[in-house]
Amino acid sequence: MLTHLRTMWLVFLHLFHKKATIQYPEEKIRLAPRWRGRIVLTKDPDGGERCVGCYLCAAACPVDCIALQATEDEKGRRYPEFFRINFSRCIFCGYCEEACPTYAIQLIPDFEMGEYARENLVFEKEDLLIDSEGKYPGYNYYKVAGLDAGVKAKGEGEKEDPPVDIHSLLP
């Protein structure tokens, strides 16, 4: 009987405890920087698309929600002709981000993407592409790649030696 009264008293004291509720639309929950939410395509510091259309993200995707078609511009730089993510299938596992060799595809801390029509959850390239470098500021794939695609000449990239003239016999 006394323990019952004690229980009631302790429960009553909860009136003055801090509440666990977060009043959502007014009060937002804190999301960690690496929280896996909406998927975006980032740009390099010069404003070019980072995506090189390698299809690794589409291959890594366990629910096959990524579709793209790679193409090349006149300078030999690869980019996706279209890039489509069906967010009604996406499970936000982040495998695409892990698979991406150029840090182009990234998951950002945003989950507020409710839609009334299912078709509106299919994001095209213009919906995905953002004017930001995302989590890797200063990174430009074509500056560290050996390839000349209009960004830098061969041998002029970061930590890259000039090409060796294999026909010369001089050391």
Binding site: L10, K19, T21
Partner: protein, 318 residues
């Protein structure tokens, strides 16, 4: 008192009670939430009070389904009985010196009779549903209410002995010097426990035990018929709180800086809060524990209380 005054009192009491019963939906949800470190419904209207309106509208628009295997007319009557019997009990409660619907000289007996009638709604509702769980709930409800009815009445006899009257006004007046909680603490505790069992609120909600009987006797009810059971339950809480206040806590008596009606309301609201606190904190006993507790502990206790009170009352009077 003129007839018009009387009619106004009846209508006023009815209006206030039905609104209180509806408002308790909000009060209970908010209080339970606060005691569970949540906030509860706070969106609709100021402090979320319009949740009552939303809930009521929802209940009205639910499909009002009568199972084809049910006994139709009994099924329909049962929810009305609980609300009717509880509302009838309110007739004898003196809310303030002259605000009472019927100042019966057998007021307390009338209350006991009416609250016993409430068991019909459970038994008929559960039986007419023609459903195993509902029938089990009804059986449990019947045995629980009959068991607890016995010493609910007996626990009040101490008060009657000290007052010398069944009239509620006289009982309140007899507490002018000293509330009956001082002279009848055991009577109060037992009456309150019996009251919880009588309204089948947690922790004694055996007849509707959600975890084992789904919803017990009202498993088949939907729409406003279910709503009537709901309102009946909240009215029952208000009734037991009001009765506790009238019988043991001096009714409308109180220091003069507040009018008597306000004192009555304040005390009643405090007991309603206690009912909700009980629900928030205590787990449900097993069915056999409930019956054992009733017959083997509370009944002897209440008889001893009656014996001692009677002896002292006789000794003082001599």
């Amino acid at each position: 008192m003129t007839i018009m005054q009387h009619i106004w009192i009846v209508l006023g009491v009815l209006f206030v009670l039905l609104n209180v019963a509806a408002g308790l939906i909000w009060v209970e949800r908010r209080l339970l939430a606060l005691w569970q470190d949540r906030l509860g419904p706070n969106r609709a209207g100021p402090l979320g009070i319009l949740i009552v309106l939303a809930d009521t509208l929802k209940l009205f628009f639910k499909e009002d389904w009568i199972p084809p295997f049910a006994d139709k007319w009994v099924f329909i009557t049962a929810p009305a009985i609980v609300v009717g019997s509880v509302l009838m009990s309110f007739v004898i409660i003196p809310f303030a010196p002259s605000v009472v619907v019927a100042d019966l000289n057998v007021g307390l007996l009338f209350f006991l009779a009416m609250s016993s009638l409430g068991v019909y709604s459970i038994v008929l509702g559960g039986w007419a549903s023609n459903n195993k769980y509902a029938l089990l709930g009804a059986l449990r409800g019947a045995s629980q209410m009959i068991a607890y009815e016995v010493f609910m009445g007996l626990s009040l006899m101490g008060v009657v002995m000290l007052t010398g009257s069944f009239n509620m006004g006289a009982i309140v007046a007899a507490q002018k010097d000293r509330w009956f909680i001082v002279t009848q603490p055991l009577g109060f505790i037992i009456f309150f426990i019996a009251g919880i069992a009588e309204t089948h609120r947690l922790p004694f909600d055996i007849p509707e035990a959600e975890s084992e009987l789904i919803a017990g006797y009202h498993a088949e009810y939907s729409g406003m018929k279910f709503g009537m059971f709901f309102i009946g339950e909240y009215l029952g809480i208000t009734l037991i709180s009001a009765m506790t206040v009238t019988l043991f806590f001096g009714g409308w008596l109180g220091p003069a800086f507040l009018p008597p009606l306000v004192w009555f309301i304040v005390k009643t609201v405090a007991f309603i809060g206690l009912f909700i606190l009980l629900r928030a904190s205590l787990p449900r006993p097993r069915y056999d524990q409930l019956m054992e507790y009733g017959w083997k502990v509370l009944l002897p206790l209440v008889l001893a209380n009656l014996l001692i009170t009677g002896a002292i009352a006789l000794w003082i009077r001599k």
